[in-house]
């Protein structure tokens, strides 16, 4: 690995102070993505500021009936936390669909949001990549792009966001709390990640001198009717080709409210208010689900190897909504899709 210095942050204020004085430094928490990026010469920080010991490890109820999750809560602890298992099982399932137990033990809640794409070309420093080296070109558009995006792409970048957890957080309307030199602010989850546009080097709207302190979940957890379905090249421990988070509030057979988010298809978890509105007031049946899928996938475009994702996503959306409506969420360990 390339040489760098190592310091520890004593508290959030110290972390912000340290990063402000050293713009080529990076925060490290779980390290599961950053250390890998350094090994691949994709990231080259001169200093790592260890924030893993910051006292941001609580999962607590908020005054408004929601839950506030400290940014340093490991993914495993979050997935198995009683409040999350009971009230936000969609989030629990999504977390457990990602990575391996080793990685989930290490990875932090905040770091999960900030993990970078697994586009092959982003990781291969010998190839052009606008995300890694702005202006150098995109090797994926005309390259091997089976894993790449079909929605929200640009001429500069067709990378996807790799997280499963974030797909559930998007569907649940989570709020990201951040702190920087100018104080604290909160960012709606849908505004946190960016589309590539002509600045694909920017994954998120977090500023370089800001730190994520917590993720907040609103009270509504959709604990009765939800499912997270992940389609991948092997049955476990692989990134999504397509994943779907679906959550419904039902009144008998009628959909009162619907949430629908896709993973593996775009630079950020993909939602559409039109698709969700189209489900509202409808009978929870296949024709309504198919219509929502068509709206959510409006404008989808393949790049050759990944054309299959459009049809796959459509079928996965219908199936996941059906699982949610039936109250039979996709099992993590039983791989049959029913």
């Amino acid at each position: 690995m390339i040489p760098f210095q190592y310091t520890r942050a004593t508290d959030v204020a110290d972390a912000i102070k340290q990063i402000a004085t050293d713009p080529s430094a990076k925060f490290i928490a779980g390290g599961t993505n950053l250390i890998d990026l350094i090994k691949y010469d994709v990231a080259a920080p001169t200093r790592l500021i260890d924030i893993s010991r910051l006292p941001l490890r609580n999962v607590e109820e908020t005054a408004t009936g929601g839950v506030r999750i400290g940014a340093m809560v490991p993914n495993t602890d979050l997935a198995y936390h009683p409040l999350v298992e009971e009230r936000y099982p969609l989030l629990s399932r999504a977390i457990l669909a990602g990575a391996s137990q080793q990685l989930r033990n290490m990875a932090s809640t905040g770091g999960n949001l900030l993990q970078r794409t697994r586009c092959f070309y982003f990781y291969d420093a010998a190839t052009p990549c606008n995300k890694r080296e702005p202006g150098s070109g995109c090797s994926a558009i005309d390259g091997v792009n089976r894993i790449n995006a079909i929605l929200g792409t640009s001429d500069s970048c067709i990378a996807t966001h790799p997280s499963d957890m974030c797909v559930a957080l998007a569907a649940l309307d989570a709020i990201v709390h951040v702190t920087g030199p100018a104080g604290s602010r909160s960012i709606a989850f849908s505004d946190f990640h960016r589309l590539p546009g002509d600045t694909p080097q920017l994954d998120t709207n977090l500023q370089p001198d800001e730190i994520i302190t917590a993720i907040e979940l609103p009270a509504k957890g959709f604990g009765a009717n939800y499912s997270y379905l992940k389609i991948r090249d092997r049955l476990s421990y692989a990134f999504a080709l397509v994943s779907v988070a679906a959550a419904l509030e039902l009144d008998g057979d009628t959909i009162k409210e619907a949430r629908l988010a896709l993973g593996g298809v775009a630079h950020k978890p993909w939602r559409s208010s039109a698709a969700e509105a189209a489900l509202q007031g409808q009978r929870a049946d296949t024709s309504a689900f198919a219509q929502a899928a068509d709206i959510l996938l409006r404008g989808a475009r393949g790049f050759g190897h990944n054309d299959f994702k459009i049809g796959l996503a459509r079928r996965a959306i219908v199936r996941t909504l059906d699982q949610a409506a039936r109250g039979t969420p996709q099992s993590i360990s039983d791989k049959r899709i029913r």
Binding site: L34, A43, T76
Partner: protein, 172 residues
Amino acid sequence: MTHSGTAAPPRARIAEVPEKIPVTLSVNRKPAKLLLAPWTTLLDALRDHLDLTGTKKGCDHGQCGACTVLVDGRRINSCLTLAVMQEGTEITTIEGLARDGELHPLQQAFIDHDAFQCGYCTSGQICSAAGLIADGKAKTADEIRELMSGNICRCGAYPNIVAAIQQAMERS
């Protein structure tokens, strides 16, 4: 957390190579005082500085699980953490599982069930399985397979690995 917003200039390097720093680890219930470059991974510290070569370097990218060790009883990939970040934790490697000359039940179960061929992934499999049993989240064979998916066995000894873990689980 990385700063995904900043495109780090790939070669904006510091002029001086940082000095080695003192790092105190607790490995297999023994303290170890080391002088390490800050970028030394826990895996390299164990293998190259403490001669604990039971922990294997497979992919070195968190994809194979051969480097799995236990930190405070939980399994992690030692290739993806810095040694210095593990100060104050209790690290257990495959060398620390046997007690008083007696094999750990998982080690015995792997022998009983012939749960390996080349053996390269075995230390990681056994440490991972120890973490799995401590977690208490797996009851069925399906659940064992899912929660052991971070450990790849290129020889394909998976059915025997699952059987070995089931045996150790029943006896724990």
